[in-house]
């Protein structure tokens, strides 16, 4: 599996993702700078977390218009798997690769803790190694993670099974108390219509080996690996 991590000024999870990718695939990803205009030929592109461009204007708004994003859009349209984590999810929404927007957390606080999310679709290229309904424990660390889109879009995401991850209680119940940021329908991660672009607020790379305190995020990378090999 050949992969690339896009690095924006202010990205800060790029190296964490690179370690996770290398451990799972045995091959270090290419690190691609935002000012480059062409993503090298790879099977998997990751937009990492961080605070690209200092979250100026809106989180992800500046990065969405970086030179490299034109190439990322082309690859996504051509079917290359693209994963956006946290700030990467915000960038994908601002770039129009995923519907909706990540607004300020409803509680007005930066939320940095482990949350539970439920796998609501195990048939994507990113979730094949999970089972439907699995509850996994993954950290979030964000100020703008409050997923919003109009009701029509949310209904469509629901009916097409595109809500991949949902915030839930440890036993898998979706309730307000388990929603860390006020996201509509407790959405923690969605895929695009073609199913090859996933955006999620929780950080699977931060729980991808035992010494990090958990391995619940590792199957996500293994799922991609399995699909591509």
């Amino acid at each position: 599996m050949k992969s690339a991590v896009i690095v924006f000024p202010g990205s800060n999870c790029d190296r964490d993702v690179a370690v996770a990718l290398e451990q799972v695939s045995g091959r270090a990803p290419l690190m691609v700078w935002h000012n480059d205009t062409e993503v090298p030929p790879v099977d998997f592109i990751v937009l990492p977390g961080g605070f690209s461009f200092g979250d100026y204007l809106r989180a992800g708004a500046m990065a969405a218009h970086s030179p490299i994003m034109r190439s990322v859009k082309e690859r996504a349209a051509g079917g290359t798997l693209v994963l956006g984590i946290c700030n990467g999810f915000q960038v994908l929404c601002e770039a129009g690769l995923l519907p909706g927007v990540l607004m300020h957390n409803s509680g007005l606080r930066f939320v940095c803790r482990d949350v539970h999310i439920r796998v609501d679709n195990d048939r994507t290229a990113f979730t094949g190694r999970y089972g439907k309904g699995d509850v996994i424990r993954v950290p979030v660390a964000h100020n703008e993670g409050n997923y919003f889109s109009d009701s029509e879009t949310v209904d469509r995401l629901e009916s097409e099974g595109r809500v991949v991850f949902r915030y839930c209680s440890p036993d898998g119940k979706v309730d307000d108390a388990s929603n860390p940021n006020g996201s509509r329908a407790a959405i923690a991660g969605i895929v695009n219509e073609q199913g090859n672009v996933l955006g999620m607020m929780p950080h699977p790379e931060r729980v991808s080996e035992p010494r990090l305190g958990g391995t619940d995020g590792r199957p996500l990378f293994e799922s991609v690996m399995a699909v591509l090999s």
């Binding site: 708004a61 601002e94 519907p99 607004m103 007005l108 919003f148």
Partner: protein
């Protein structure tokens, strides 16, 4: 030519910051505040003397970058 651009959250979109400001105003003793909505104000200086061209340029800037039209409305005035 200068554009004075106001970006506001669409009605129906929750504005937690506006709500927090509203509560703070009440805590300071300001009565009769029905609601507060928070937005952004941006000034853009344009090397453009034709108001019509300027208007369409600013409109495109708002749609493509300055506002996220999923949740925000924008309005602007041009001044000499």
């Amino acid at each position: 030519m200068k554009a004075k651009i106001h970006i506001t959250l669409k009605s129906g979109v929750l504005d937690p910051q506006g709500k927090a400001v509203e509560h703070a105003l009440a805590a300071l003793g300001f009565g009769g505040v029905d609601s507060v909505r928070q937005g952004k104000y941006i000034e853009v200086d344009l090397a453009e003397s034709n108001p019509e061209t300027a208007r369409s340029k600013i409109d495109a800037m708002c749609r493509q970058l300055l506002a996220n039209t999923v949740i925000e409305n924008y309005a602007f005035d041009l001044v000499e």
